[in-house]
């Protein structure tokens, strides 16, 4: 069965884009070119990004915002240009609202510690959801324990979407912040962020969006969506690991105390006191991820060249294809909603066969890389009554043939682990 043949080719991006990614043409096993379907964990990098990183080290590198010398000026210019690129990419008003962090997790922790520590009182509520990644749960658990604030969770519907009726019920004047993912990294669900921000603001609550799974895959506009805080990572959007973004509205960031203390984040330091720097330096203590930020800048150029709308459309085709084919497999349970409510990933579980077996055989026999486990969403898996699932997550360089490889692999796993009336050799008479 070739699902690939039935696809609407006009919605697909050209396969030639794969040529930009050196790793995609490598064999993972002898004779098995890499089929990379673990993009929700981290994507691969095009030559343009790899070159941008080696270029900065070969020609322009020094520490930023420090030296008078030429290289420091060059790297500072490139670093600040990266900030401006990010600003435009998410539609923020000012570049100073864009903070470079080590990643999404660090961005969320910054808000939890700085904003949460300064603003949360006993009895205040933080409203998050049962589908969050651990990185949008644990920081809130930690700050709730410290401040006496209470954590509440929006449940999901039967088909894996946010239960917005329950959201309406849970949202109250006690709610100080809503922390929600724009796309679930396990269910693939696209959440109604605009509706959430408008309702939360009406109730007097702020909204933090974990956008790690949406910024790389579809257009994001923080002004239009009226998001207060937005967190995402470079490595999930063709950029290097070690760099992420916290976007925050200027008035909020201005009112927040600094998080990490050290160099760069200060205006003046005396032996027993300091005054903090202005935004964005106030939240960028220490030497920032200079080369990663510049690499991320090149990734944004690359993504803009293709277009986020086109990327989303391409992934919708792959998702529909995978969803339809997986739906036909007996004993396989797809986690999350129908394709029209989901982004470019499909997680599934089998009654009899553990996710590890899928990941192992798909890798060893078909060169297909998928994720197996709980994908850092243990509470969600517990709620779904499973301990692990297998996840295939797409990016624009995947093609329908990759989905065929996945399906072929799944069917091989099924027959390999089908009960065959095996008997182990007896050592004991018991």
């Amino acid at each position: 069965m070739s699902a690939a043949k039935t696809v609407d080719q006009s919605a697909l991006l050209p396969e030639s884009l794969r040529d930009d990614f050196p790793i995609l043409s490598r064999d993972i096993l002898e004779g098995h070119p890499l089929v990379f379907l673990d993009n929700a964990a981290s994507t691969q990098r095009p030559r343009q990004v790899i070159d941008a990183i080696s270029n900065v080290y070969e020609h322009d590198y020094a520490n930023v915002h420090r030296g008078i010398h030429t290289l420091s000026e060059r790297s500072t210019e490139l670093y600040e240009l990266a900030r401006e690129k990010v600003r435009a990419f998410v539609g923020a008003k000012h570049a100073r609202e864009v903070i470079f962090t080590p990643g999404t997790t660090a961005s969320i922790n910054l808000v939890a510690r700085s904003w949460g520590g300064a603003n949360l009182q006993p009895g205040d509520e933080i409203l998050t959801t049962v589908m969050e990644h651990h990185s949008n749960l644990v920081p809130w658990q930690q700050i709730a324990a410290e401040t006496g604030a209470v954590l509440r969770h929006v449940p999901i519907t039967e088909d894996g979407r946010l239960d917005m009726a329950a959201f309406d019920q849970l949202l109250s004047e006690r709610t100080k912040l809503v922390a929600v993912c724009s796309i679930s990294n396990t269910l693939g669900t696209i959440n109604p962020i605009d509706e959430i921000t408008s309702k939360a603001h009406a109730a007097g609550a702020l909204v933090l969006v974990d956008a790690a799974q949406s910024v790389p895959h579809m257009p994001v506009d923080v002004l239009k969506s009226d998001v207060d805080f937005l967190a995402f990572s470079g490595h999930k959007m063709l950029g290097p690991s070690g760099v992420g973004i916290l976007y925050g509205k200027e008035s909020l960031l201005d009112a927040m105390p600094p998080f990490l203390g050290g160099g760069s984040m200060i205006n003046e330091v005396r032996l027993d006191s300091f005054t903090p720097a202005e935004l964005p330096a106030k939240f960028e203590a220490g030497t920032p991820p200079i080369a990663p930020a510049i690499g991320m800048s090149a990734a944004i150029d690359y993504l803009n060249h293709i277009g986020l709308e086109a990327i989303h459309r391409h992934e919708q085709v792959l998702t529909q294809l995978a969803y339809d084919a997986l739906s036909q497999i007996e004993g396989l349970r797809i986690l999350g909603p129908a394709p029209k409510h989901r982004a470019g990933l499909v997680s599934f579980a089998f009654e009899r066969i553990h996710a590890h077996e899928f990941a192992q055989v798909l890798n060893d026999q078909f060169g297909v890389a998928v994720r197996a486990g709980h994908h850092c969403t243990q509470p969600l898996h517990a709620l779904l009554g499973i301990s692990a699932s297998t996840r295939a997550s797409f990016y624009f360089y995947n093609q329908p043939e990759n989905v065929d490889c996945l399906l072929e692999g799944i069917s091989a796993v099924q027959s390999m682990f089908a009960p065959q009336g095996r008997r182990r050799r007896r050592k004991h008479n018991s």
Binding site: P419, Q420, R422, R424, H428
Partner: protein, 132 residues
């Protein structure tokens, strides 16, 4: 990298489909349960120790991948009727050897789960139940 044929050798699949002493032990004196947080594999082992430190009987329950469950079956079969001292001498390397196929570091954790659980179980007496 091991191929799937090596990884899932016949004797592994035999233990997976036809495990040694999968179930619970009513007369158990000791028990322990643990999970592999990376992947959610879980194994519980219940066993009966006599006064001389002999493992008179032992059973396991659990949920997880082929490697975690087949290795539990192999381990219990191996240690059935042995002593606590025998178990102490039975190292992680012995467990991997008993299992057979070469495993990557991540899959070794699956294989060693039941071994870790059993090492703890002999030191985890049940509050009530089996006579001491």
């Amino acid at each position: 990298m091991p191929s799937e044929e090596e990884l899932y050798q016949e004797h592994v699949l035999d233990h997976y489909e036809d495990p040694f002493h999968r179930g619970t032990l009513e007369s158990a004196t000791h028990a322990h349960e643990d999970k592999n947080p990376l992947c959610g594999d879980v194994v519980r082992i219940e066993l009966k120790l006599n006064d001389e430190g002999k493992i008179e009987n032992l059973y396991f329950t659990g949920d997880g991948c082929v490697i975690s469950q087949a290795s539990a079956s192999m381990l219990l079969e191996e240690l059935y009727g042995k002593t606590v001292d025998d178990l102490k001498d039975f190292s992680a390397a012995d467990m991997l050897t008993l299992y057979g196929p070469r495993l990557t570091p991540n899959r070794q954790k699956c294989c060693l789960l039941s071994w870790k659980v059993l090492q703890s179980a002999v030191h985890s007496p049940l509050a009530e139940g089996g006579e001491s």
